[in-house]
Symmetry: D2
Subunit: 355 residues, 4 copies
């Protein structure tokens, strides 16, 4: 059993971590913190946890900071900018850090500071951080001390493009044209657990809208994924437009590409199946089966469907995941499994909830 702490456990990724780790056979949650709810039992805030967890929120004071250093792993389910302030002390104490916010996602300091409007407090540590997408970075994660858990949209985008960019690199010829349109849709829980007029039920339900139209923080992360993680040999321009769907959980990314003649020569269904053959959490759907978000509800699986139309020169990749699981807390647990050399699926095998 390893000893885990969750810093900032009152948000949706926080409760999802509690839910997943409480059922994990090799993890004990020994510490849970919250500035606003210090002293309160977690199951008072979330009655769904009654009988599941008897944890009490601690404040993030000196005593807690000291206790964190005794843990094996600390998850930060906090706003952007919190983890980077604690990471140095923790890693020096040999504690592994998994940040579910953005502090360790973007390798470019300039990008981080531009998009998140704050100075990075530990740029040297940032260089050692590993981007927590096991399907790309499994080896590095096994050695990592700091992991930047990916954003939800970038997870779908990068995994939806990986077999294509890799094949393009391998063949050293353009298979898709330069412009990629990622028209993405998220459930409302992605906006976090907060009091907000815009998220009020009566404002949000029976309604659909786009947001982040002029630029969303996940765009540079997607671009980094294509350029640095997948090391695309060809420039790819991404138009990323997120939308808000009146549903609690779920993310659906429709990725539109134009095939070159060379690209049309490839059987992309087969290529995706081969590329992800060994991945426990990536499910390439059979030809003609199309995904819906509920098919991954409350699960760490991400499902991909391919539609290739050579006559029109189109390739469409549809990617679904639960934004709170594979898009956040589940992926964090998967990263932890890799970091501690556990079976990667440990604690993550539960079936999706349908209906």
């Amino acid at each position: 059993m390893i000893s885990a702490a969750i810093v900032g456990g009152t948000g949706y990724t926080g409760i999802e971590l509690i839910r997943l780790l409480s059922a994990h056979p090799k993890v004990s949650i020994d510490l849970l913190t919250s500035r606003s709810e210090a002293g309160t039992r977690a199951d008072e805030i979330f009655p769904s946890l009654r009988g599941i967890s008897d944890l009490v929120f601690s404040d993030l004071g000196d005593e807690t900071l000291y206790a964190l250093q005794k843990c094996d792993v600390v998850f930060f389910a906090t706003p952007h900018g919190v983890a980077m302030k604690q990471a140095a002390a923790l890693t020096q104490a040999g504690v592994k850090v998994i940040d579910l916010a953005a502090d360790f996602r973007l390798q470019s300091l300039a990008d981080f500071e531009h998009w998140y409007q704050q100075t990075h407090s530990c740029p040297e540590l940032l260089k050692t951080a590993v981007y927590g997408l096991p399907e790309l970075n499994r080896d590095k994660l096994a050695e990592a001390f700091i992991v930047g858990n990916p954003g939800c949209y970038p997870t779908t985008a990068i995994l939806g493009l990986k077999p294509i960019i890799e094949m393009q690199n391998k063949q050293a010829v353009r298979l898709i044209e330069s412009r990629i349109v990622i028209d993405a849709k998220s459930g409302v829980s992605g906006a976090g657990r907060q009091a907000s007029l815009a998220l009020n039920y009566a404002e949000t339900t029976d309604n659909f809208k786009a947001y982040g139209i002029g630029g969303h923080r996940h765009l540079p992360e997607i671009e980094q994924g294509i350029e640095q993680l997948l090391v695309s040999q060809f420039s790819q321009q991404v138009r990323f437009l997120p939308h808000l769907v009146p549903m609690i959980r779920g993310m659906f990314s429709s990725i539109h590409m134009a095939l070159t003649e060379a690209g049309a020569g490839i059987d992309w269904q087969q290529e995706f199946e081969d590329s992800y053959a060994g991945e426990a959490f990536i499910d390439v759907l059979p030809h003609g089966v199309y995904p819906d978000t509920r098919s991954v509800r409350a699960s760490n699986r991400l499902r991909i469907a391919i539609h290739q139309d050579n006559e029109r020169g189109e390739l469409t990749v549809l990617v679904v995941q639960d934004n709170l699981v594979k898009g956040a807390a589940g992926q964090a647990v998967q990263n932890m499994n890799v970091m501690f050399a556990f079976d990667e699926t440990l604690g993550l095998n539960a079936a999706p909830i349908v209906p």
Copy 2:
């Protein structure tokens, strides 16, 4: 054309008043106020009003207060406690006041102060206020200067009980046993347009709960309706339990009663039909037709279904309305129509929106 003002136009009852009055053939909205949004066009806050209204919110400063006194009628779509501070000046200037909050609903000062936790600022005016339920108070409303627009739940409760209490009074014998259970359900818009964690989409949707379990402000208003408006000769004890339904609009009150032997002798379906025969906005559904809330969506109609089971000695009255229309803004317009001797249905004839 009469000149109307809406004080506090940024809530859901405010926008509903703008929607209804903008289409009313005898009303011009000349003034719209909001502390928080002074200087802003209404259609910036509510883009649905683009092309419908070019009103700009005014602050509630001296100039506005003076302008209000030039209007024929002022609607208060404000929190409790605002209208009572302005009502004296307005009525002295000959302006009619319709308060959609609770300042002029309860005749008992003690009840008001107990349930709303504030001192009433114009108790003498309260005595002249008329409870704005046209189906009960039509004559008084025609002469009224101050109208307390009913709460949404009391509208369903009082109209659902009226034919029964009246018949019981008429026959001077108990027709229903003393205990009445009103198990009521409301859409989320009833909680108002506000930033609130409890009303966050991800907290509210796919979820159902009761609230106000230990006592809700609408209970004394229902009791006042039975005892004072309907002048019940028999004591009736009410258990009122409201619930929150994951839907935007709509209110459904299930009223459970036990029939006495005398009560079982009455054909309640017929009795309700007769009692409401002349009412434009009360629809007693035929025997065996049961209501759903969408059948009144965005409409001022209130529909009632009767289920009488003499074998079990049960009488169930089901009442539906749109909480923002007959339960708030529509009823206010209906009251206005009566107060200004317009056709009572003017501006209120639009069909419900289905689906």
Copy 3:
């Protein structure tokens, strides 16, 4: 490991059984049947099961019937009237039967035939069937060969009334008046997985309605629970009115009672806590905490809140459960655990899904 079969696996209780049993450490699902989908993989119908189950639906032909007799337990997730035709052959072969439909719920043949409009095909077996509510019938279940898994509403009603009726029996004096109002609300999945205009999304969402107003099949089951299971010494008349809530899962029963003077002398909060102290799946919420349905989503827990108002002589019991879990498939698995002397919570410990 025991060998289990699910007859009729294409409905919502069917897929829920597959989900729960696939994760059960002592059960192997060896057979899955469906008339309509014979030959199809379950994960083609329910893509959420991809990677979870590779079962294929069998037809209910002779070969399958023979194979069923080799199982240790057979779950019937079929329409009413199917299990009673197979039960004799199975029990003769030593197979335990758990019927999630109504064939073995009502002990009274007359009631069964009146409410379900069919003749019972094995009245002698019915006498040996045990009503599958472990919190009442644990001992009998340990010996049972045929179990009638309770209806969803009766589960909430009987468990919400049990401590009261038992205390009333014990004290041999009326604690609540004779008339009980159960105003119950269910999510839409309770209506089953079917093509139906009334259940079409555009008909059902943003809408609320009552149904079964003149009489619902679960009423005689609730009455049987009070009279025969709880052996109430006093007659209790129940008004049961179910409603449809626009949510997928969840059931909320508001039970309204009037306290007698003797009843007001009891601390019902304490009484419920004591009564259910040892029950793993019954959670009596602390005083002042009120339940919502999502707090039990996808979980076998049932939560109860008590509101006692001696001044008004009222006792309100609020009960929530997931209609597909404690209200159906989860309770069936709990029954199986008892029948096979497994730990009663095996396979049923997963935390509710929130948000």
Copy 4:
């Protein structure tokens, strides 16, 4: 007053026509037909119409066919293939026909027969039919006898592209690159009023999916709009991908284009505002205001937002409408107004319903 008939009034476009025409000051609905509901009052099927309409459904027998020929206008709210069988007799009798299905949308017989899998029964009449998009075809509509009311998606696509294609034609130079991605999202009412497992509430809510991935009937209609109605001088290839949103009404089309250098030289915000300056139902939102579907709920308005990013060479046009109003019944009434030389906005001025 003109005399109108609605053939096939039991679907969602049928009830929407009844709702809109019942409030139209110059129209009397004199006939309403339905094969399945002949003899039934409309307000029995749709209780929301109680007090609004006392129409009774007629069968489509000889007597009714004769009566239809006495009307001024007949709306077909029927499945594809019904209107074309009645159109000849009606137009010969001088009756104007508005078909809300697809019989008169596609000018190409081959396209019609390919996509709708039936033979067209009156190809000669098809040539005289006018595509009912008033913003493009106002003059032709004034003379039309047969109008093919546009599909919902094509309405958003064609109106979202019109100012661009027209400007491109005018300048005779490519302003956008050839490939256009239309990623569109519709509420569930677009699938019609039908019993369907796929549309069951528990299957559809809290869920999001794409459909028509390999080809949707609205694609050739969009292409016809670009090529023939807008007479694009440049070839434009369209990738059209529709999605299903868990909401009742509303359609949101995200149109993604790449700007050429010439295209980047144009101020598209200004261009759209100018292009639609005189249009009562087209609202070009101010720069930086983005649409949501509820802002047009139950209204005939269509709102457009422009996002131009010259640095990235991107132009995004977002279009929202109510799929049942501007996307169907409202547009049909607008067409009727033009055909009968009424004020184009008559009966269509109601404000959207928010919240």
